[in-house]
């Protein structure tokens, strides 16, 4: 009966966000055959996400700058000859061979590529606090996707709690689209004069970013949305859905200061404490990782051409550490040039020359990012909000108390997973692992290098520390396994695989 389709391609790009689109276009312009796949229905990624099919743009001015930027990137890639395949998830990656599944297909496709660029982006940093699983508590990314893809407002009285250079973008965008945002909380401190001065210096060449940040702030202020710095969400209250948010003043480590709680009635709480890179494909491929909480935690190691330690596998964008779209696109250019040079499509010298301005641009962005760190460095308190009754693993409904009880038996993440089932559900640990990693790190104390990695994340100038296999396991959770997305038995099934018969066990 059915087998599988096999295809060959020069460069396979996984992810159709800014990084993937830009890399695909540039590589195609240098003569590579490029296939770009994205599991979503439309291209553009988190920031430039296009509305779903059937959505007709009636008033081009309302949809915003990002929409048009996305259109341009998609058109440019297509114009360069890139084959774009939507609704296609990469389920497995080994070397430069990927198993892909296109929605609606009856079987998977085996793609043999000469180079693979993994540009999978990031997802919201999961932050468990009492009430985080109540309906009406949404992630910033989720709310943004909802609004961008289907133009649906998440609620009628929306509070936002979060942090980070892009955090204010969410409430500002929501407000702009007509959503009633009643409160915006930023965990970091209000910008003070010295920091602002530093930003202006570092911001040289980052005018667009600064302008965006200021615009967001101005929009919120203009719309009279209370903007409170140095405050963190403590819990969400409500019976069947969120009815109120309780927040408190946060110290420099983002720990709630006693007696500073306030309560506000809302019907939606939007939470955005930054992003974590999507690492499952890169981990599956066996790439080397480092750790930096401010880049989202696990970050893959890449060389000057965005090559990982695995032959033929490159990485770019938020998936390599969350730094935003501009950096993602610059990294993507380096990756495309690197792959083209490796495959002989351009000479090394020419690639180096073309890369020079990109590297300058990246250096400027990195200076800017580091200048921003005092404002937005992630405090360890973010993983101390859960109480014993808080469900940490939502899929399997495992509470913090239950996890801590099991930690009396083991501090090995795989064993912990076995004893509690935390991380075994549909999301495969994506939403509980950062919290579990942090609790484990705290428990095993100063002795644990993983722990010191979490605590030391504030040192702005230190290079990203490299992880040993054990640390990677502690922080990333358990062994990565295919398929990295759920896939039906009927589509996975391949009757042409020989079955050599039997033996005992299993």
């Amino acid at each position: 009966m059915n087998g599988r389709r096999e295809e060959e391609v020069g460069l396979l790009v996984v992810g159709g966000g800014p990084a993937g689109l830009v890399a695909a276009e540039l590589a195609a312009r240098h003569g590579l055959t490029v296939l770009l796949v994205d599991e979503r229905a439309t291209f553009g990624g988190q920031i430039y996400r296009q509305p779903g099919p059937g959505f007709v743009v009636r008033d081009p001015r309302r949809v915003g700058r990002d929409y048009w930027a996305g259109v341009a990137l998609v058109e440019a890639a297509r114009g360069a000859g890139v084959e774009l395949r939507a609704r296609t998830a990469v389920l497995s990656l080994r070397g430069t061979t990927a198993v892909c599944l296109t929605e609606g297909d009856e079987h998977v496709t085996l793609l043999r590529a000469r180079r693979v660029l993994v540009a999978p982006g990031a997802s919201d940093r999961p932050v468990p606090f009492p009430g985080w699983t109540l309906p009406g508590v949404v992630t910033a990314g989720g709310a943004q996707a909802l609004v961008k893809a289907s133009r649906v407002a998440p609620g009628t009285r929306v509070a936002f709690a979060g942090s980070g250079p892009l955090a204010l973008a969410f409430p500002a965008q929501l407000r702009h689209l007509g959503v009633n945002v009643v409160l915006a909380l930023e965990a970091g401190p209000a910008p003070r004069a010295p920091t602002v001065a530093r930003l202006v210096v570092a911001g040289w060449g980052n005018a667009a970013l600064l302008r965006d940040a200021l615009t967001y702030r101005a929009r919120l202020l203009g719309a009279r949305v209370p903007l409170r710095y140095g405050r963190i969400v403590v819990r969400a209250e409500g019976e069947d859905r969120v009815e109120a948010v309780v927040h408190a003043a946060a110290d420099a480590d983002w720990r709630a200061i006693p007696d500073s709680e306030e309560r506000l009635e809302v019907d939606t709480l939007c939470v955005g404490y930054g992003f974590v890179p999507s690492t499952e494909l890169l981990r599956l491929a066996g790439c080397q990782f480092g750790y930096d909480e401010n880049l989202g935690g696990l970050v893959v190691e890449v060389d000057a051409w965005q090559r990982t330690n695995v032959e033929g596998v490159l990485a770019a964008g938020d998936g390599t550490g969350v730094r935003g779209a501009l950096v993602a696109m610059a990294q993507a250019r380096l990756a495309a040039l690197g792959a083209a040079a490796d495959l002989g499509a351009v000479s090394r010298a020419r690639a180096a020359r073309l890369a020079r301005p990109v590297r300058r641009q990246l250096a400027a962005k990195e200076r800017f990012r580091r200048a921003l760190l005092p404002l937005y460095a992630v405090g360890p308190g973010i993983y101390e909000l859960a109480t014993p009754e808080t469900v940490v693993c939502r899929c399997e409904e495992v509470t913090l108390a239950r996890l801590e009880e099991a930690m009396e038996a083991t501090v090995d993440t795989d064993a912990l997973k076995s004893y509690t089932r935390a991380g075994m559900g549909l999301c495969q640990g994506r939403s509980c692992q950062p919290q579990i990693g942090a609790v484990l790190a705290r428990r095993t104390g100063a002795a644990s290098e993983a722990g010191s990695l979490l605590d030391g994340a504030n040192e702005a100038r230190r290079p990203v520390p490299r992880l040993s296999g054990g640390q990677l396991a502690a922080l990333a959770g358990t062994t990565p396994r295919p398929p990295v997305r759920p896939a039906a038995i009927g589509v996975l099934a391949d009757d042409t695989v020989p079955d050599r018969g039997l033996f005992v066990g299993g």
Binding site: V99, A409, Y419, A488, G490, D494, G501, L502
Partner: protein, 431 residues
């Protein structure tokens, strides 16, 4: 038929989900204690074999230490499917269930019947929730030839004291409407089922600890030195945390047992193999019994939380320890194909995770349990279908070591030549 269908509605709670439901785990502070420097028995390996043996010895008053190189129960015993395979593996031993194997198969049946009885009682004995579910089990046949083997098998099982029956046609369809209609038939064994492999070995370890056993983790054994003239201690077991002198040692190192044995100059009839497993999203109850295939690589069940656990012996790529074997895509695809062939309704059920573990297979698929004549005092306890048979074989070995029960038969001897079964075991093992 009706009794069978209602025997287990699948509503039992999975112990691992239920806080305080009797899950019994050893404490980290205990496991990291000092390793004794002198003892009677040192058991190398903290899987099900090592932990169960420690329990049976310690409760009979034997002084002992278990040395595990990493966490307890993290290798085969904690990665397996947890199925009780009580129907004999006749098809794996011969091409056609030949009479030549009858004696051996009868002996297998008798052992399996005892294992069934032990599992039935184990939660009570250990006073712990092990997630034991007696669901019954079906072994399906696709072709008339395979069906004929099931018929032969059923007779041997009957003669050995195991109740099974062969179902075909409408009877099978009524009993198991979820099976593909064109299957030739199936044998059914009401005592089959499964337990939670994540809970069994830790529970044994916790009770062994209570009985005085020094169960220790992160104590990898580097070598076992044979002492010439040192009174009662015949061995010095060198491990990463020091040295322990022992009168007897037990190699319960699973897939690494043969490597450990080589250090003392002998070959065990074992090889290590990576095995593949899949787990799906949860669904409403579709089926109750365990299902396996007599001619192809498939075992599957719907666990108490609704997920389907699918395996059956598909290979995984071996990696050097401590890395786990890595998953081969061809195993995902092949295993899915057999599962869909046998239970067509699985076609739209999504696999959410796969994993792989490594087990020790003996070439004749018999346990490798007993004392080596070549190195007196050196015992081995490695059991291929080791979840089903591990606790039983450990208790039999404990009986032999304490002199309370008979010496194990020579068929299980670690000294036996590493050859195939009399009837010629099919080389079905994955590589």
């Amino acid at each position: 038929m009706d009794e069978r269908a209602s025997a287990e509605s699948g509503t039992c709670v999975d112990a691992a989900r239920e806080p305080g439901a009797g899950v019994l785990l050893p404490r980290r502070s205990d496991l990291s204690g000092e390793v004794p420097t002198d003892t009677d028995v040192v058991i190398v390996g903290g899987g099900l074999a090592g932990c169960a043996l420690a329990y049976f010895l310690a409760t009979q008053g034997v002084e002992l230490a278990v040395l595990e190189r990493a966490e307890l129960n993290r290798e085969a015993s904690g990665t397996n499917a947890g199925s009780f395979h009580f129907q004999i593996a006749i098809h794996q031993l011969t091409g056609a269930g030949a009479d030549a194997d009858r004696d051996r198969l009868l002996a297998d049946v008798r052992l399996l019947v005892r294992a069934a009885a032990m599992w039935r009682d184990l939660e009570r004995e250990l006073r712990a929730d092990l997630g034991v579910h007696v669901t019954g089990g079906l072994m399906v046949a696709e072709t008339p030839e395979q069906l004929q083997i099931l018929v032969t098998k059923q007779r041997i099982e009957r003669d050995g004291g195991l109740d099974t029956e062969v179902l075909t046609g409408a009877e099978l369809r009524n009993f198991a409407p979820y099976l593909a209609e064109d299957l030739a038939g199936a044998s059914y064994c009401a005592t089959e089922g499964y337990a939670n492999p994540l809970l069994a070995a830790p529970a044994f370890a916790a009770r062994a600890f209570e009985a005085g056993a020094a169960v220790r983790t992160y104590a990898p054994v580097e070598r076992i030195e044979q002492l010439q003239d040192a009174g009662a201690a015949r061995f010095a077991v060198h491990h990463a945390r020091g040295k322990v002198r022992a009168h007897r040692v037990v190699n319960a190192a699973g897939a690494w047992a043969h490597e450990l044995a080589r250090g003392n100059g002998f070959e065990l009839p074992l090889r290590a193999e990576g095995l593949h497993m899949n787990v799906t999203e949860p669904r409403d109850r579709l089926l109750v019994p365990l299902i396996q295939h007599i001619g192809r690589r498939l075992t599957l069940k719907q666990s108490s939380n609704g997920t389907f656990i699918v395996g059956g012996g598909w290979p995984a790529r071996a990696e050097p320890w401590p890395a786990r074997p890595s998953v081969r895509w061809s195993s995902v695809a092949g295993n899915a194909a057999v599962a869909r062939r046998v239970v067509p309704a699985l076609a739209d059920v999504r696999v959410i995770h796969t994993w792989a573990g490594v087990w020790a297979a003996s070439k004749d698929l018999l346990p490798v349990v007993g004392e080596s004549a070549r190195v007196p005092g050196y015992f081995t306890c490695v059991v291929p279908t080791g979840f089903t048979l591990g606790p039983l074989m450990a208790s039999l070995l404990a009986g032999q070591m304490t002199g309370t029960s008979a010496t194990l038969p020579s068929e299980y001897s670690p000294d036996r030549a590493p050859t195939l079964a009399r009837g010629g075991a099919r080389q079905g093992g994955p590589s």
